[in-house]
């Protein structure tokens, strides 16, 4: 169970998150939705250890994991996928999964066996020798997902895994995410594809301008007036004011 309490983050005077609270239960899927610039990616970066929050705490099964480095967060069971896989195009598909398998594996053979099993589960085994840059975008998403799952995480952070996929591919990923939930993983997903949110989300958290404005089931939050306004009512010019500079921390 992942508990986020009173998390705040600002970048040079710009408050991106303030007082964010939510809980992601094990064996359930929490969808994090909200307009662009609401602070979703920043929140995921804080949970994943890429960013350190200015205030508040993150607990995993009661253990304080606030601001631990990413590698430690991974070791404790917090795994994530990335929006962009383009800049790692030179990496090998099999290696991408196998290296992540070392969280569970005792050595070379075990890591490779786990990676093989995971790639076969995702129907990616035939691409094992390819580079990430030379396979279609939808497949890099699946590799990314396989990479996260092979570590047998406690918490899985999915950052727009559905973006740019065809409806058929979305169905494939939805099935895999569902299976993953059955294994007891607490899944937090940032998602714009409503098909996926409707199909999967047990719990929805709506973030707007750095604050949680509603949470509950999808039906509950979609009847919430503030949510409707956040999505439809605010003029675009105002929305643009809240930009998240840390969307891509690798850049620079």
């Amino acid at each position: 169970m992942l508990t986020v309490a009173n998390v705040a983050k600002s970048f040079g005077g710009l408050h991106v998150l303030h007082d964010v609270n939510f809980t992601a239960e094990s064996a359930s899927i929490t969808a994090l939705i909200g307009p662009n610039g609401a602070g979703k990616s920043t929140l995921v970066n804080i949970i994943g250890g890429v960013l350190r929050p200015d205030g508040g705490t993150v607990h995993l099964d009661g253990e304080d994991v606030t601001g631990v480095p990413s590698a430690t967060a991974f070791a404790k069971g917090i795994t994530r996928t990335f929006q962009i896989s383009g800049n790692v195009g030179a990496l090998n598909v099999f290696e991408s999964v196998a290296v992540a398998a070392y969280r569970q594996a005792r050595g070379y053979r075990e890591a490779n066996a786990l990676a093989r099993a995971e790639l076969e589960r995702f129907e990616l085994w035939e691409y094992r020798d390819q580079q990430l840059g030379s396979i279609p975008t939808a497949l890099t998403r699946l590799v990314d997902f396989a990479r996260a799952m092979v570590s047998r995480p406690k918490v899985l952070l999915l950052d727009e895994v559905m973006a740019g996929l065809t409806p058929h591919e979305v169905d494939l990923v939805i099935r895999q995410v569902g299976t993953c939930r059955e294994q007891g993983v607490a899944i937090v997903m940032i998602e714009h594809v409503m098909q996926a949110v409707e199909a999967l989300a047990d719990h929805v958290v709506v973030l707007n301008q750095g604050q949680v404005i509603a949470s509950g089931s999808l039906g509950d939050v979609s009847r919430n007036a503030e949510v409707v306004e956040a999505y439809l009512g605010t003029p675009p010019s105002e929305r643009d004011e809240v930009r998240v500079p840390a969307d891509n921390p690798a850049k620079g």
Partner: protein
């Protein structure tokens, strides 16, 4: 006391030349964000250019400097046009290796053409040394310092007071913005790179009567140019000028206390520390402090 004064004035004048070399690199590195590890070798092109024209007298010398500067600018233009431009989208690593290799190629080309080290030309100026209150300054050193200062002022006028300067600074602020308002970004890059290289070549021409030229000098000057630019910081051109003068003074006065090679080792060691502690420079304007320093560990070849 007069030794100190003597060294300080020589250091100051040498520092002005470093400033001139430095602002050439400032335009390329700080403003256009192109890595040019061959910058010092463009100074070398200026030196050997003037040397091979063998100017006799003041005006032929000035003519030779102008010719060498144009030559350096042309080579710079071609380097940007043919070698670096395609790497613009890829980022700095290929630029780094390309320009480093280019520098090596230039160095050894001159090694083959001019195997004799420490070549120089006699004083081309129509006057001899200046002496005042125990300080003697040779004519070429005085003239090089003064001409460097004039050129530094001219470049700062160009960058801060003309339309061309506005365009250059615009590209520096936002490349995409510049593309959107219809600026031919590639041409701006080529011309700025050519200008930076041309300035280095001018500095080389002015340096020649003071400092005999050897092919190995290129690397030393490249490092010094980077020292000036890195310590000068990204704030404004004046930081670079100040850092140039600072380097000249430090070198001259440092020679009082430490033997030559050890003093340079000390300078390089200090520079290493500067890179660690403050890659954005020491002479920083207050305005540029607001921008958060973007640090990244992203590395890779090509």
């Amino acid at each position: 006391m007069s030794t100190v004064l003597q060294l300080a004035s020589t250091g100051l004048l040498q520092g002005l030349i470093y400033s001139l070399i430095g602002i050439g690199l400032y335009l390329v590195f700080t403003v256009m964000r192109v890595v040019n590890f061959a910058h010092g070798y463009f100074v070398l092109i200026g030196m050997y250019g003037v040397l091979s024209l063998e100017p006799k007298g003041f005006f032929p010398f000035l003519g030779a400097v102008v010719v060498a500067a144009l030559g350096g600018a042309l080579v710079g233009y071609l380097v940007q046009r043919l070698l670096l431009e395609s790497g613009l989208a890829k980022g700095g690593h290929s630029q780094l290796v390309i320009t480093l290799s280019l520098g090596i190629a230039i160095q050894y080309l001159f090694q083959v053409l001019h195997p004799e080290p420490f070549e120089t030309i006699p004083n081309p100026y129509p006057f001899e040394a200046f002496t005042s209150s125990g300080v003697t300054i040779s004519a070429p050193r005085m003239a090089a310092g003064v001409l460097s200062l004039v050129l530094v002022l001219a470049v700062s006028f160009l960058v801060y007071r003309t339309r061309i300067g506005t365009i250059i600074r615009g590209c520096s602020e936002s490349l995409n913005g510049a593309i959107h308002v219809g600026i031919n970004v590639r041409r701006v890059y080529r011309l700025t790179f050519a200008l930076g290289c041309g300035l280095a070549a001018v500095a080389g021409g002015l340096l020649l009567p003071i400092q005999p030229v050897s092919p190995a000098l290129g690397l030393e000057l490249t490092i010094k140019a980077f020292i000036v630019v890195v310590i000068g910081g990204a704030g404004s051109l004046w930081g670079t000028v100040a850092a140039g003068v600072l380097l000249g003074l430090a070198e001259a006065l440092g020679s009082l206390y430490a033997p030559g090679t050890f003093a340079t080792a000390l300078v390089y060691g200090l520079f290493f520390l500067v890179i660690l502690v403050r890659p954005q420079g020491l002479v920083v304007r207050a305005a540029s402090r607001i921008k958060p320093a973007e640090t990244s560990t992203k590395v890779g070849v090509g």
